[in-house]
């Protein structure tokens, strides 16, 4: 059965690479956008020596971790955004009459290879930033470095899926999801100290986005949390991601039952 999903991904890649010029431009512009995002941090530090009490070194680590995790999630499940299109046009029908699971099938059918350019760039960026920031490596920190992008990716992926589910009830409200997906990435890139209390509580600890960049970066660079959070907080990211997936799948199940198949 998993072979079938693999074949779907292959087919999607073949369809996309048919328009060669456009695909090339797509990959290039995706990759470029990661560079631009990294450059934003440098621009910010051009006009201010510290941001939220942190220097360039720490903020770059946060930013690189968060962006890498996000780009990975975006590559794997980002196209679930297209769910609202499927719901609006009733295109989910064709997916539902096949003997495969709906969510993996959709992800495979819409797999956007061009986003690989972005992941490649952000992984290089993470490496460069780590060399520049040069933390004192200990086994725990190495483990944290491996764990954080995986858990972060899982968390962002869950947010993508949960956000997309909104379309089952409110077809035109796709933009709400953007606040948590793209907004979540923006949030996670900068120190949690700069945000007002309510936003920090909801996005940082409610959704768990402070565990994607902020806390792991503090752990890697050996900083204490000025907000008073304990050191071990960064280790909670896998648990938070797992919980987020639980909610995402619950939403998904309920949503599918709610599907109305209009448009014909």
């Amino acid at each position: 059965m998993s072979r079938a999903y693999g074949r779907l991904v292959q087919a999607q890649i073949r369809s996309q690479t048919q328009y060669r010029t456009s695909f090339g431009v797509d990959v290039a512009s995706c990759a470029l956008s990661t560079l631009v995002e990294a450059a934003v941090v440098l621009v910010v530090f051009r006009v201010s020596p510290t941001v939220g009490g942190f220097g360039l070194r720490e903020v770059l680590v946060m930013s690189a971790l968060a962006v890498f995790a996000f780009d990975l999630a975006d590559l794997l499940v980002g196209n679930i955004e297209r769910l609202s299109l499927y719901v609006r046009k009733g295109m989910l029908d064709a997916i539902l009459v096949r003997p495969l699971r709906v969510l993996p099938q959709l992800l495979a059918t819409d797999f956007a290879l061009r986003r690989i350019g972005r992941v490649a760039q952000s992984s290089v960026l993470l490496a460069v930033v780590l060399v520049y920031a040069a933390p004192h490596w200990t086994p725990a920190r190495v483990l944290m470095l491996v764990l954080t992008p995986i858990a972060g990716c899982a968390l962002f992926a869950a947010v993508f899926v949960t956000g997309a589910c909104v379309a089952f009830w409110f077809v035109e409200s796709g933009e709400i999801a953007n606040a948590f997906t793209y907004g979540g990435k923006e949030f996670a890139r900068y120190p949690a100290t700069i945000y007002p209390g309510l936003l920090r509580r909801v996005f940082g600890y409610g959704v768990g986005l402070a565990l994607v960049g902020y806390h792991p970066a503090l752990f890697l660079t050996g900083h204490a949390d000025p907000l008073g959070g304990p050191d071990w907080l960064a280790w909670l990211s896998p648990a938070v991601a797992a919980f987020a997936w639980l909610i995402a799948l619950l939403m998904w199940r309920t949503g599918i039952r709610h599907y109305r198949s209009t448009g014909s």
């Binding site: 059965m1 072979r3 079938a4 074949r7 779907l8 087919a11 073949r14 369809s15 048919q18 009733g90 295109m91 989910l92 029908d93 064709a94 539902l96 009459v97 096949r98 003997p99 495969l100 699971r101 039952r257 709610h258 599907y259 109305r260 198949s261 014909s264």
Partner: protein
């Protein structure tokens, strides 16, 4: 004796069983400039039907009658509000994936194929999706290619196919995994006359083999006349007729017509029970009679006795007539 016994056993195996099926939708309507009112509408309102293995059933009704909604509940796309559905003995929504392997679905207005890839690739992919054994897959594909003449466009990307070609591809796609039940939702919509005919011939061929159960919704009643022994008519979410085409005619009193052309105009004094003059045209030289259970021969013989009869034609009642009356009903 035993052979007949087995035959009946196969014939009576129920493939689709629907009881008290209901699907409600909440519809939001604009009232005034800002306010909106929501109310519940039953798109399917207590449908019951039972379809045996090998039957080809036409499922018709006016736009918005609940045809597609029923079909979507039978295929596991929509969750019923209440009621009982079993297809191949499975409850569609909870057993969706299992059921999907045993049914084939064609939506006339939606494609199952991969838009940017050649038809051949779509078929290959479906083989993997449905996990069909290679030999079986190839045997069925070979058959469809021959019968539907797919060879000339097997390597064309789907987006470049004509509608008729694409439809032939869609039907093949729905059959490659050897489904027990085939759901066809307006398969002939938008097709030209030739494409319609070849598609009907193919479906008729499948129907006569007797191992595939077919449910067909359509607005083209000629599809029904060519393919279906049994007809289920739905209106306002309820079944208003379930039976043969003949039964439908009988029930709604559709009448055969006899049109006679005379050499010259004259009054025809035909006083037979069950015969009525429906129209007099061409300055009285053409008369149309409507017959209610009277054999046409009797009437023609009566008219011919008086001479001056140039031409006679007998017109069978059309299904359009009955259905239009039923829809308006």
């Amino acid at each position: 004796m035993t052979a007949t016994g087995t035959m009946t056993a196969i014939k009576t195996e129920t493939m689709i069983e629907v009881r008290d099926l209901r699907k409600e939708f909440t519809v939001r309507r604009k009232v005034g400039r800002i306010r909106r009112e929501s109310r519940t509408v039953a798109a399917v309102d207590g449908v019951a039907l039972s379809i045996a293995r090998g039957e080809t059933v036409g499922y018709i009704g006016p736009n918005g009658a609940g045809k597609s909604t029923t079909l979507k509940m039978m295929t596991g796309i929509l969750t019923p509000t209440s009621g009982h559905v079993r297809v191949c003995g499975l409850e569609p929504v909870p057993r969706r994936r299992r059921l999907a392997g045993r049914i084939g679905v064609v939506f006339g207005q939606r494609s199952q194929l991969w838009w940017d890839l050649p038809l051949r690739e779509s078929f290959r992919l479906l083989g993997f999706v449905y996990a069909v054994p290679r030999a079986e897959h190839e045997a069925r594909l070979r058959q469809c290619r021959a019968m539907l003449e797919l060879d000339e466009f097997m390597d064309t990307p789907v987006r470049q196919l004509s509608l008729g070609q694409r439809m032939r591809g869609e039907i093949t796609a729905a059959l490659l995994h050897g489904p027990d039940v085939l759901f066809l939702d307006e398969p002939t919509i938008g097709l030209d006359v030739v494409s319609k005919q070849s598609l009907r011939a193919f479906l008729a061929e499948i129907g006569t083999r007797g191992d595939v159960t077919t449910v067909l919704t359509t607005h083209d009643l000629a599809d029904i006349e060519h393919l279906c022994r049994r007809l289920i008519v739905i209106d306002c979410g309820q079944v208003v007729h379930d039976g043969t085409l003949e039964a439908l005619h009988a029930r709604y009193g559709s009448r055969r017509r006899v049109v006679v052309d005379l050499d010259e105009a004259r009054a025809l004094d035909v006083r037979m029970p069950g015969v009525a003059i429906e129209a007099i045209e061409a300055d009285g030289r053409r008369v149309t009679f409507a017959l209610d259970g009277v054999p046409a021969g009797e009437l023609i013989a009566t008219i011919a006795r008086d001479g001056g009869l140039r031409d006679v034609s007998v017109r069978e009642p059309t299904i359009e007539e009955v259905v239009a009356r039923l829809y308006r009903g």
